[in-house]
């Protein structure tokens, strides 16, 4: 009896907080008009927004993957001064508001910022253009690969690496033949999470991009724009596509993580 009531409360909570809102998506698209949603989705500005989002992810994900692996290796396998600080900075974006991230970049590359004037002199547009948006996206998605790889590296230990080393393998060879194969699932999982974060970023990009329609507007900014223009059908339509991507990512995530506590 007690078991059923606990289950009931837990699933009820999920229904009210998570599944209820989610189930609204299809219904709202239908209620607002599929035709209108389709018009908004096929709008060239929407297409461009999705293109910008994909571009950002295409740049940020590979860079963060490499960075994440290097940082994880440094944190687990090396000792150096400032290691605690590095650790803290890698975690910071997890706890920091994206708005603070966006504002920091805005101040750094703005007209009166430290780097702003230099870039302006050399004719490079950083703010309200792709470069600052890339930086913002990288910033918010920095931790994920490293966070996944660190525990795996700890778990596998370095015996095999040392063995390879004794047998005369170079550091590079050891990495490709021993280390990378054993951490590959953690890396892949981290990449999936990083991608999801990049595609969904709003706050940081909202500040640095200026949301210029057809130029620096991303898919999530487009959702907001359509909402403010009272084009709810469009807003829900774009959300539906984003949610479809999210659910695809989610399926990948569950497939890649069989070790979690479900028997």
């Amino acid at each position: 009896m007690r078991r059923y009531s606990v289950r009931f409360v837990a699933l009820g909570y999920l229904l009210v907080v998570l599944l209820g809102p989610l189930s609204m998506l299809f219904w709202r698209v239908y209620a607002e008009g599929v035709g209108k949603a389709w018009t908004a989705l096929t709008d060239p500005d929407t297409g461009h927004a999705f293109k910008v989002t994909l571009e950002l992810a295409a740049i940020a994900v590979p860079l963060n993957t490499i960075f994440g692996i290097v940082v994880a290796l440094a944190i687990v396998r090396r000792r150096f001064p400032g290691k605690g600080l590095l650790n803290a900075f890698v975690d910071l974006p997890l706890a920091l508001s994206p708005v603070v991230v966006g504002l920091s970049l805005y101040l750094l590359y703005g007209r009166t910022g430290w780097f702003g004037p230099w870039f302006t002199q050399h004719g490079v547009q950083v703010l309200f253009a792709l470069p600052s948006m890339v930086l913002a996206t990288i910033f918010v998605s920095v931790p994920f690969v490293a966070r996944e790889v660190v525990p795996t590296l700890r778990e596998i230990g370095d015996e095999q690496e040392q063995a390879a080393h004794t047998l005369g393998a170079s550091g590079w060879q050891t990495f490709w033949r021993i280390t990378l194969p054993s951490i590959r699932w953690a890396v892949i999982y981290g990449v999936v999470v990083t991608t999801a974060r990049c595609l969904g970023e709003y706050g940081a990009v909202a500040i640095v991009s200026g949301s210029i329609q057809g130029k620096t507007e991303t898919a999530t900014l487009r959702v907001q724009e359509e909402f403010e223009n009272l084009n709810l059908a469009g807003s829900y339509g774009i959300s539906l596509v984003l949610a479809a991507i999210a659910i695809f990512v989610l399926v990948l995530m569950t497939r890649l993580r069989p070790r979690e506590g479900v028997s």
Binding site: L14, G20, M24, S104, L107, T220, Y236, A246, I247, M253
Partner: protein, 244 residues
């Protein structure tokens, strides 16, 4: 380079108008109201998560029912879904066109609800693995000695999963403090009423008041640092506990 330098620039800019300017910016009535609201809602969200998250983790590990794998998968959805979509969805269910006749749009309840959506996975995902690893022998021993279920939970299970709960709660709190995408659509952002700190910072920055925005942002930054310190402390305590 990518993380530390912008942060340094932020702190530097926040002091453009000197200490008094910094103080004026963060003690402006609207700023204080926004920060208070943010902290209060985030604390409430964190507390709710402590209970709901533990309960869900418990059900996912100890209970068995059809569709459990699906439920387990769906827990991660808030991590995968863009938060602005989350905001839109909560607005659809509990907003002006609500099919269940709940009209929470543009109120503080809406902020609370959407933050619950966004922060759902944190506690579940930190408690679940610990609970899974936990040996049930001690619980059975206690049960055979006549302990009540609640006593077993409080005396045996809770001490082991407490570090997990606390670090999950801390991360959920930090997330709730910083969230903007989910809130911006459905809170209405009325100053003194439903304007949270991140939206306030955003608005200041959009209106060209970078220095004041930076000052309030520094406060948020300090909170983030404190949360990370707390999480680090909890982790260290947990490992010491294991070793002992």
């Amino acid at each position: 380079m990518i993380v530390a330098l912008p942060i340094a620039a932020l702190i530097w800019s926040s002091r453009n108008d000197g200490w008094s300017g910094f103080w004026n910016a963060i003690s402006a009535p609207e700023a204080v109201a926004a920060l208070k609201l943010t902290l209060a809602v985030a604390a409430l969200v964190a507390l709710t998560n402590a209970f709901a998250g533990t309960l869900i983790a418990w059900v996912l590990v100890r209970d068995d029912f059809r569709g459990k794998t699906v439920v387990n998968g769906i827990i991660d959805l808030p991590f995968a879904l863009p938060t602005i979509v989350a905001g839109l969805l909560v607005l659809a269910l509990y907003g002006p066109h609500s099919p269940v006749d709940v009209h929470a749009a543009y109120t503080r309840y809406a902020i609370y609800l959407v933050l619950l959506f966004v922060t759902l996975p944190f506690v579940v995902r930190t408690v679940q693995p610990v609970l899974y690893e936990l040996d049930t022998q001690m619980e059975e021993a206690a049960r055979s000695l006549g302990a009540r279920e609640l006593t077993i939970f409080r005396r045996i299970v809770l001490p082991s999963i407490l570090p997990g709960i606390l670090s999950g709660v801390a991360m959920a709190f930090a997330r709730a403090i910083g969230e903007i995408g989910a809130i911006v659509i459905l809170s209405g952002n009325l100053p003194y009423k439903t304007e949270v700190a991140s939206v306030y910072v955003f608005n200041l920055s959009e209106s060209g008041n970078g220095t004041a925005a930076a000052a309030v942002a520094v406060v948020l930054l300090a909170i983030s640092f404190l949360v990370l310190l707390a999480v680090g402390g909890i982790r260290r305590m947990a490992t010491r506990y294991e070793r002992a």
